[in-house]
């Protein structure tokens, strides 16, 4: 089911944060635009991200010490702020990933059951 309207996925506190951590952990240092594009690409058209919201997430993660930022130059010579995941960020990433896996597993089970119950 494609989302017709823009859903603010970061309303679920931590959802966008985890996406950002995942992106940085797997892709290495990226600028804000790059992260946003990457998330959009990976999620296909399912997520229509308000790219601007990524910056609230970035500053939050940065202030918690999970990512660090540095101004650098892009491939085509543009100045951009590059983010990379820190050691404690990796720990958090592992923790949050495990949590999401468990949650989605449980949710999957619960939802299947409820469909059976309906029948």
């Amino acid at each position: 089911m494609a989302l017709e309207k823009q859903e603010k996925l970061d309303l679920l506190q931590g959802t966008l944060d985890l996406m950002v951590l995942q992106t940085l952990a797997t892709m290495g240092p990226l600028h804000g635009y790059g992260i946003a594009r990457r998330i959009e690409e990976v999620s296909g058209d399912e997520v229509l991200l308000n790219q601007g919201t990524i910056y609230a997430s970035l500053v939050r993660l940065q202030q918690r010490g999970w990512i660090s930022a540095e101004w650098g130059t892009s491939d085509n010579n543009r100045k951009a702020k590059y983010y990379s995941i820190t050691a404690s960020g990796r720990k958090q990433w592992a923790k949050d990933t495990a949590y999401w896996h468990r949650l989605s597993m449980v949710m999957g089970r619960v939802l299947t059951m409820s469909v059976e119950g309906d029948l």
Binding site: Q6, N50, Q51, Q63
Partner: protein, 883 residues
């Protein structure tokens, strides 16, 4: 760990806004540039590429706003914004702000002062370690003032030995008088107040010395022992210039060198606990053996053993006290009883109700202040409705607007509280340093941490209370209507008007309650002032008389007395003078009197206040002789003394008989009754007069111990003082520079607690009245402004100035009448609470109620008349054209 790091980063970001913002700007710019570049590379035109990039970012402003919220302290930002806005609006409306802050300062200041008084006298424990174990011991029924509130030396020492409840048991000599000693050695002797206390007195209270020691040794408590003294802190500071090496030095009292063994701390004030309104300068050992046969002398205080309850100690006292000896040597029982009181209850228990009433009154004032401010804010909010509608239309949430209004009211109440604290500090300083109000512990009143916490509490509560009503009102208003031009026709306006009227009615009702309470107390006070005291305090004054050494016989003393009186009466302006050993409404002591030859049950006759006086005293103090004659200098028969009694004594001892020339037994010896005087109010104007008798100072049987020279004169005391003192010093160079004090002072001191309460409640009531008047004026004046157009139309259609005025005044009076009715009903409930504080006044005193109703109606009329007058001056043409 993450949370702490984030918090510190948020604080850091909060203080580095500009830096963070420019960083964010650059980052967003690079984001857009990157997006545009990618879009162009996909083949879009530069315009289209830019448009798409901006759509995808979803609003640069929102992105910035979200980022700021995530990194900084958004609530603090909002608060600062609200505060800045508040200060700006209040500055723009400085008239309103000034009035609001002043009203609040008065309301909150009054509350702080009263709280400090209540806290000091009622709530805070006495200023001694483990004060809850301190107990006051007094006879169960006291029929005769101080003499019956005391115990003999033998009884006290016996109880000390036998009891198991008290870790310490002590007392002081109850029969001291202000200015009874003189400090000599440096020019003119200075009168000071001295008291004998038992050796363990200060130890029982656990008072720690500032210097030296506070316990008298057994040797020092013997009549032949070394003369030693403990100084009060103020005395040491004032008279000895706070000499740090005073311990061990000798000071001369009445030319007797006395060694200083200790100085009391600043925090100890004997008068504040035991004798409100007096100051004790020096403390000397109670010389047990010297006064052993003087009868009941000691006023008692004890410290309970840990774990012993008041009830247990009471049970033991009930067993032991009746067995105690009045005098071991003479072998008679004292017939003692003992009621144990928590010392704190004894000190302030009788004031509890007055203080709670006072607290209630001042709380009522704060309530009126809040209602008043609520009203002012409502009027202001109505005027600002367009501003709020605009803000709301621009996206401000209603909660945010209410929050803004609450911020304003809290800022106002904080400013009011700060100014109020200033006023309260001044008032409390005054109360602590005046000496004429006979309330216990008043000298230790101060604004402490508890009072500051209380201030914070009432300021916040008041701010929320008076801010919430206008806040909710605005938030519930219809904003579209408010945005339309004619504000007067909005329904919100009408609803606000109704709310404001209700507030004013409740304000009038509250003021009515306060005024009736104050009125009843004032009437009681006037009744007290009106009481026939049995003597004439006005134009009489007294000075403590000192005797030269060597007057060892009654005859010599009498001769000296006559010489003094002769000299003083020659001073121009002096009508008459006489000498007494005790003045009315000050120290009292009692002996027994009975009719010779009649039988009385033990305990049937009350103690009788006794005064040793010279001939002419009745005249000098203004007492009325109803039968018989005054004394003469010839009434000095050593075989038979003479006595003058009061009517109460005459009625009881010789009912339906002529008491003149009857023989009475006075203190064990015969005395002939020569006169009867009208009853004198002995302890205060409010207490019934007891038994009194006057015996001749010329008689050798009863020598006086202190002597007060009483002078009746038309001259003011200040003019009289130097000439009287000069005359006395001619006869006796040792006469100290005592003050000639008006007798009225004694009367005033006795009624000072009542005066204190009446003044305070009266001030609060006046404040309440002014605030109510302001409220009425505000509402009526506002409604006139709102209805300018309507009034214009009425006048255009032929209404006269008179009818317009009448309409508005009747509107005011309707409001006042409602308030008065509600207030009267509430007053009936409240007045029964203060019934016990009233004197000669019924709690439903119709005169007071009627007077207050009239006063309120008159004030309402005045407050309504001013806007009514303005309304009647409206020019119909101008009013109609304006809208």
């Amino acid at each position: 760990m993450g949370a702490i790091r984030e918090a510190s980063n948020r604080v850091h970001s909060f203080f580095h806004k500009q830096e963070r913002d420019s960083d964010l700007d650059a980052e967003l710019q690079s984001h857009i540039d990157l997006a545009v570049e990618e879009n162009i590379s996909k083949g879009m035109s530069p315009e289209e590429a830019r448009r798409r990039a901006l759509i995808r970012i979803g609003g640069v402003q929102q992105a910035k706003e979200h980022q700021r919220e995530a990194r900084g302290l958004p609530w603090l930002d909002v608060l600062l914004q609200d505060l800045r806005y508040t200060f700006r609006t209040l500055r723009r409306d400085s008239g309103f702000a000034t009035i609001a802050i002043l009203i609040l300062a008065l309301g909150i200041g009054a509350n702080i002062v009263v709280f400090s008084v209540v806290d000091t006298i009622l709530l805070r424990p006495l200023p001694f370690p483990e004060a809850n174990r301190l107990v006051r011991i007094a006879p169960k029924v006291s029929k005769c003032g101080a003499s019956c509130a005391t115990y003999s030396t033998d009884a006290v020492q016996e109880f000390q030995r036998q009891n198991k409840s008290f870790s310490d048991f002590t007392g002081y000599d109850a029969f001291t008088a202000p200015g009874n000693w003189k400090l000599t050695g440096g020019g003119v002797p200075i009168p000071i107040s001295q008291i004998d206390v038992m050796d363990n007195f200060f130890h029982t209270l656990r008072v720690q010395p500032l210097m030296g020691r506070l316990t008298f040794s057994a040797e020092e408590s013997r009549p032949t022992g070394p003369k030693v003294v403990i100084l009060s802190y103020p005395f040491w500071k004032r008279q000895l210039n706070a000499d740090p090496n005073i311990i061990g030095k000798a000071i001369s009292f009445g030319n007797t060198p006395t060694t200083v063994i200790g100085v009391l701390p600043d925090t100890f004030d004997f008068g504040a606990i035991y004798a409100p309104g007096t100051k004790m300068d020096v403390f000397t050992p109670y010389l047990y053996d010297q006064v052993r046969e003087y009868g009941n002398m000691i006023s008692l205080t004890g410290r309970l053993n840990p774990g012993v309850t008041l009830a247990q100690a009471q049970a033991e006292a009930d067993l032991l006290f009746p067995t105690l000896d009045g005098s071991v040597k003479r072998g008679y029982k004292g017939g003692y009883t003992a009621q144990l009181w928590d010392l704190k209850d004894f000190v302030s228990g009788s004031l509890r109700r007055s203080l709670i009433i006072l607290w209630g009154a001042v709380g009522l004032i704060l309530l009126i202040v809040c209602v008043n401010l609520s009203n002012l804010l409502l009027a202001r909010a109505a005027a600002r409705s367009k501003e709020f509608a605009m803000r709301s239309a621009l996206g401000a949430a209603r909660g945010r607007i209410v929050r803004q209004l609450l911020t304003e009211s809290l800022v106002l109440s904080a400013a009011g509280a700060i100014l109020g604290l200033g006023l309260a500090f001044a008032a409390v300083f005054y109360l602590a340093h005046q000496g004429s109000i006979a309330l216990p512990l008043l000298s230790s009143i101060r604004i402490d941490k508890t009072a500051l916490a209380w201030t914070l509490f009432i300021a916040v509560t008041a701010g929320l209370f008076f801010g919430i009503i206008p806040g909710l009102r605005i938030a519930s208003g219809n904003l579209q209507d408010a945005l339309k031009d004619s504000a007067a026709s909005t329904t919100g306006g009408q609803g606000t008007a109704r709310l404001r009227t209700t507030l004013v009615i409740s304000q009038i009702a509250l003021a009515c309650v306060l005024l009736i309470g104050a009125g009843l107390l004032l009437r009681s006070f006037l009744r007290v002032l009106d009481v026939d005291l049995g003597f004439e305090p006005s134009r009489a004054s007294a000075i403590l008389l000192d005797y030269p050494k060597g007057l060892d016989t009654a005859a010599k003393t009498a001769a000296f007395d006559r010489e003094v009186l002769h000299r003083v009466e020659q001073i121009p302006g002096v009508q008459t003078a006489a000498i007494t050993d005790s003045l009315p409404m000050s120290r009292n002591r009692s002996w027994g009197i009975s009719a010779k030859g009649k039988h009385y049950e033990p305990g049937e006759l009350p103690g009788t206040f006794v005064y040793v006086v010279t001939p002419g005293y009745l005249n000098a103090i203004g007492m009325r002789l109803v039968k018989g004659r005054d004394m003469t200098w010839e009434d000095n028969d050593p075989k038979q003394a003479v006595v003058i009694i009061n009517e109460t004594v005459a009625r009881y001892l010789w009912p339906n008989e002529d008491p003149i020339d009857r023989i009475a037994i006075v203190g064990g010896a015969d005395a002939r009754v020569i006169g009867v005087i009208a009853d004198v109010r002995e302890t205060s104007a409010e207490a019934k007069s007891g038994w009194q008798m006057y015996i001749s100072a010329a008689a050798p049987q009863y020598g006086p111990n202190d002597s007060h020279l009483v002078i009746r004169s038309t001259l003011p005391v200040s003019t009289l003082q130097p000439t009287v003192l000069a005359a006395l010093r001619q006869l006796n160079p040792g006469q100290p520079a005592a003050d000639l004090k008006p007798i009225q002072l004694l009367v005033d001191r006795a009624s000072s607690p009542r005066r204190f309460f009446v003044y305070l409640v009266g001030i609060f009531a006046a404040l309440g009245l002014i605030l109510a008047a302001l409220g009425i004026y505000g509402v009526i004046s506002y409604s006139v402004t709102q209805r300018t157009q309507e009034i214009g139309i009425r006048m255009a259609l032929g209404a006269t100035q008179r009818t317009v005025q009448l309409r508005i005044i009747s509107q005011t009076l309707r409001m006042a009448a409602l308030g008065i009715v509600v207030g009267a009903i509430a007053s009936l409930a409240v007045s029964s609470l203060i019934a016990s504080l009233l004197f000669g006044t019924a709690p439903t005193d119709p005169a007071t109620f009627a007077a207050i109703f009239m006063l309120l109606a008159a004030v309402a009329l005045l407050a309504g008349y001013i806007p009514a007058r303005r309304a009647s001056r409206i020019n119909p043409m101008v009013a109609l054209r304006n809208n």
